[in-house]
């Protein structure tokens, strides 16, 4: 999966990310939207709101609530994914919501709701990172004020080597996965998960790769939001 010179099967170096494209306004009926491709991942995110939160019991007197739904379309995976309730999707929705609530200025919209729908229409590895990153672009496209964008990226380990942004083949043999959600201006975190086996030193290397990649991806996000070509 990785040769003696640190070159990966798809030609990337250990710290390199897969190709990314970002486009806004892709769901015409939404208040904000984003289409992000990342390797052969493709996420489409729509933002609706701020709008009235109902039923009333979900309203908060002093702030808006987010309603984040992450979902994988049935044709997004090699084996068809059955529609309907799914523990993994529920959990990814929750961590994504927690991350976004950390940056959206919720107190500007008391008693209202902002709905964020993340649809993975093509899945490779790292869909939760694509979804979270694209969601922060869609929120910006909808004009929702945030303290910062969120860039999400994961590093991992293959063949005992720490590398950034595993693709599907690498992920099949991955020995660890460390996705992070980073505020690119402050370097602070709003999202963190990790599975696998990393020594304390490997952990630090993976952390650094993510931080560096976040700066790179952030540039593409800003370009897309400024109407530039992100390719």
């Amino acid at each position: 999966m990785i040769d003696e010179n640190g070159v990966r099967a798809d030609g990337r170096g250990p710290g390199d990310i897969r190709p990314i494209t970002i486009e806004t306004g892709v769901v015409p009926v939404a208040d904000g939207s984003c289409r992000m491709t990342w390797g052969t991942n493709e996420a489409i995110v729509a933002v609706y709101g701020p709008m009235e939160a109902h039923p009333r019991k979900i309203q908060r007197q002093d702030r808006a609530v987010l309603d984040v739904a992450y979902n994988m379309a049935p044709f997004s995976t090699t084996d068809r994914m059955r529609p309907g309730f799914n523990r993994r999707s529920r959990e990814v929705s929750k961590v994504t919501q927690d991350a976004l609530e950390s940056v959206v200025l919720l107190e500007l919209y008391p008693r209202s709701k902002i709905r964020i729908s993340i649809e993975i229409v093509s899945a490779e590895a790292g869909t939760r990172c694509v979804g979270l990153t694209a969601a922060s672009v869609a929120l910006a496209d909808a004009g929702i004020p945030m303290t910062d964008l969120v860039v999400s990226v994961a590093s991992g380990k293959i063949n005992d080597v720490v590398v950034c942004d595993l693709n599907k083949e690498e992920d099949n043999y991955g020995e660890a996965d460390l996705p992070m959600g980073i505020m690119p201006n402050s370097g602070e975190l709003v999202f963190l998960q990790m599975d696998g086996d990393l020594s304390q030193d490997e952990f630090k290397q993976a952390w650094k790769y993510n931080m560096d990649a976040a700066q790179e991806i952030h540039k593409l996000m800003v370009e897309a939001l400024n109407g530039g070509d992100s390719q």
Binding site: V27, V45, N71, S76, R80, R115
Partner: protein, 259 residues
């Protein structure tokens, strides 16, 4: 984007327009929106399509599974068609179990394709009584500005016509193109402002009444009809719609066949 919050005002506005034979977006009564059809755009699907009709955007994806044939039809595979409209597609669509609307969407499209006989279920058999292909067509709405029915049907038949049977991945031979012998096309008509129009937008649907869906096959044979929502229509109104559908489906069929 704003949906009018006073449906009564919208209804009366649509009635006024209808009196002048006009529509809310300037189209003629039988005029469709700008159409864009693409295929093979989803890397994980064995067949796929994207249809854009104005601000309505949908995807269709085809996947295959190995099934055991039903005991009473040992030489046949299966076709399953399922439609999902998730909250991504519009502010009025909610999450949760499939709504009656999305169930109806799936079934109406399914019927038109199935009844046309465009897929020969006998050809899906791998080993009689043991293994056959199940073709699963998933219709998925990205942006709902009305008339998801026609968009789903068009994306569905396009995705099927461009699907590859993944025999290698399932270790049952070499990949080959799914055989689709016909091109059933659906046309939908909504009563808006008192008269039927073709290809209604979301606002026309919101301020309108019943709708009629017609699927015609290559030879203008009728394969599926469905009247939706509350409303009364006459035999003469239906004849006018049917005549329009015959004309319209021929044009759309040419577009799909030539992709």
């Amino acid at each position: 984007m704003t949906i009018p919050i006073v449906p009564k005002l919208l209804r009366s506005h649509l009635s006024d327009l209808a009196e002048r034979d006009a529509r809310i977006d300037g189209r003629g009564r039988w005029e469709g929106r700008e159409l864009e059809v693409q295929h093979s755009i989803l890397p994980r699907a064995e067949g796929s399509a994207r249809v854009r009709m104005g601000d309505t955007i949908v995807l269709a994806g085809v996947k295959f599974q190995i099934m055991t044939p039903y005991p009473d039809r040992p030489n046949q595979g299966g076709l399953m068609c399922s439609a999902e409209v998730r909250p991504v597609a519009g502010r009025n669509w909610e999450s949760g179990p499939p709504s009656p609307e999305s169930i109806e969407l799936g079934r109406v499209v399914d019927r038109g394709i199935r009844e046309s006989g465009c897929i020969d279920v006998d050809s899906l058999c791998i080993i009689p009584g043991e293994k056959a292909w199940q073709v699963i067509l998933d219709l998925f709405a990205i942006s709902d500005d009305g008339n998801l029915f026609d968009a789903f049907a068009l994306a569905g038949i396009t995705a099927l016509r461009n699907a590859t049977v993944p025999a290698e991945r399932f270790e049952v031979g070499e990949d080959y193109q799914l055989s689709v012998s016909k091109t059933p096309i659906m046309c939908s008509y909504h009563r808006v402002g008192g008269r039927f129009v073709f290809d209604a937008t979301a606002r026309e649907e919101l301020g309108g009444d019943e709708r009629i869906h017609i699927t015609l096959g290559d030879d203008n044979n009728v394969h599926s009809l469905q009247k939706g929502l509350k409303g009364i229509f006459s035999a003469d109104e239906f004849t006018e719609i049917m005549d329009n559908a015959i004309e319209r489906t021929e044009k759309l069929r040419k577009i799909v066949d030539e992709l």
